[in-house]
Symmetry: C2
Subunit: 345 residues, 2 copies
DNA sequence: CTGAAAGCGCTTACAG
DNA sequence: CTGAAAGCGCTTACAG
């Protein structure tokens, strides 16, 4: 085979768009357009370009594309934590959708800190991502300004916004907590505590859902609220249970804002000889992997994080590719998983 | 303030290197060199460049830099799974070191599949990463060839290689399993089963460590090996325990290759009324967060994954920045964590 | 619909 | 040590 081009010393040796165009017998611009297939190109020319590209094993250079278009093939995703399985599931779902569409995922872990999120978003925007996925709706004003100024399309995950210009995929944390509380009331419990850690916005929405339901039932009591700003963990769950049991306020059931807390409480109960659900009913939130295997198995709320990740990534791709958006606000719901830990005697 | 430059319609409005050079009164090349500080530049000129850069809020464009230098500021990291907390810890450690040094982390989840790893590495190499972090030493021949051909520096994590040209940070899975087995023998157990899932290379090294110690003690028996290729999980741990108990071969202790399996076994034992450690001793591997809180608390091997991530990232940065490497093979050791689940009566 | 030109913002390679 | 030129591989913006 005869080398038709002389390459400079800086060339990488990979096939370039110019190579493809030459082989197809069209201009570089036509080749570029044909490969991106976003504007009309003569069908026969497009086919020649496709064949040439295939034959040369052409792969577009992401850096060149980013430099020329001022937009990279990266999509930045901000999540609060990787320690909570919830977000790992979310992330894996996002990544598989984006990867299939040819986009790279850049993950920023905010540690539930809006200022750290701001810094991460600032850094990511320098790389001109094609899109941005944010967890929750509570960004700092500066983050919002940075994002708006950048013009980068955004989709919000895990909560729904009612604003017309905000695209969000989530479910109602408030309703989910309300329904679980309603279930505990229906089981005959009246003194139902709410125990939470981390106290991030979604946790506080769950608190509100519990509170509203308790108030409506005429059973709300501030002494039933146990809030610890420490990161949520099995250990903290045990501590919260110990505090609740040590207090003078009788409790028949405890609704933990996350399954890891509830699991810790179940283990602490076992260690101290407290019978669950016999002496105390316990439930959690999120349906993490261990919950079905606990003894007793844990009643919880199953949240659609995989679906949230998938839909959010799909909607973001539509925005990135400038396709018309069918829906701005996707509510994916939730379901109660009733297991042994709240079983009425 | 007077705008000294006319910008084309394609400009982004951000300060460029040319702006910095102009303000500092030097050539663009000198500014470039001064900012990268990799070659000697006159001190006074360098200062002028630094001042100008600061004043303009200059941030280099990663795409332009990547295009010109054929090397991006991304570092690709391949890990088997995000479901195992082990790798989440590893990843967070890696990311915090790389981010502090101005590099972006691109994560590829291989799902323990060398072919998926190969595909991910292939994709990542198209983006010309500055460096590559790989988990384990068992890449396909093609992956090795791709990496070698790319010239991208690599550091291997979680296992140590004896090859002189391989940079690795890890510990001996073999020794760790051997020591734990030794401990169980010292507790007086003779029929010690080894139960594993996933069966990835590191799990098999643990199997070898257990086997060697059992053989040396004259106690090895193939009926004591319980291997399930399914992904490791709490559920599978319970199943493995059930199989072991249902078999006709007596067992005094079970060494699970990962803590999630051991946790599942503890829960299954509790459900079936089997006393641990009274009737059966159980231990795990990795010291995952829940293990200290299980009832009984779980004896396990604490593995240095955070340190592995940090050191691996540091070594990779040294290679990327062409600094001399002090060490090629970093063995970070491990420690046994003795808890209730193996306590001799 | 198609294309020649210019440009994106850097760094390499070469002279001085 | 410093700099003018060329180039990295694409896409934008403008004509036709």
């Amino acid at each position: 085979m005869i080398k038709t081009t002389t390459r400079s010393s800086r060339s990488t040796g990979r096939a370039t768009l110019a190579d493809v165009a030459r082989l197809a017998g069209v201009s570089q611009m036509t080749a570029s357009r044909a490969l991106r297939s976003n504007s009309r190109v003569d069908a026969e020319m497009a086919q020649r370009v496709a064949d040439a590209s295939e034959k040369l094993g052409y792969v577009p250079d992401p850096a060149a594309r980013a430099l020329a278009s001022q937009r990279s093939s990266h999509i930045a995703v901000m999540i609060p934590s990787l320690t909570n399985t919830l977000f790992v599931d979310l992330l894996e779902a996002v990544q598989s959708v984006l990867r299939a569409a040819g986009f790279q995922t850049l993950v920023g872990v905010t540690h539930y800190d809006p200022l750290e999120e701001e810094q991460l978003v600032r850094e990511q925007l320098l790389h001109r991502p094609a899109g941005l996925l944010l967890t929750g709706l509570q960004q700092t004003a500066r983050t919002q300004a940075l994002v708006a100024a950048s013009g980068v399309p955004v989709v919000y995950m895990m909560e729904n916004s009612d604003a017309a210009d905000v695209v969000s995929v989530g479910f109602s944390q408030f309703d989910a907590a309300g329904q679980m509380t309603r279930h505990l009331l229906d089981c005959g419990h009246q003194r139902i505590a709410f125990a939470a850690a981390q106290l991030d916005p979604r946790t506080l929405q769950r608190l509100q859902g519990w509170r509203k339901t308790m108030q409506d039932a005429g059973l709300h009591d501030a002494n039933l609220e146990w809030l610890d700003p420490a990161p949520s963990s099995i250990g903290v769950g045990g501590q919260l249970l110990a505090q609740i049991l040590a207090s003078p306020h009788a409790v028949q059931a405890v609704f933990f804002c996350n399954d890891d807390l509830a699991q810790g409480a179940l283990l602490a109960a076992q260690r101290s000889g407290l019978r669950v659900p016999g002496q105390l009913a316990i439930c959690g939130f999120n349906d993490l992997p261990a919950s079905a295997y606990m003894v007793p198995s844990l009643t919880t709320v199953k949240t659609p994080r995989v679906e949230v990740g998938q839909r959010a990534a799909q909607l973001l791709l539509q925005r990135v590719l400038q396709e018309p958006l069918v829906e701005h606000r996707v509510d994916l719901g939730f379901s109660l998983i009733l297991r042994e830990s709240t079983q009425p005697g």
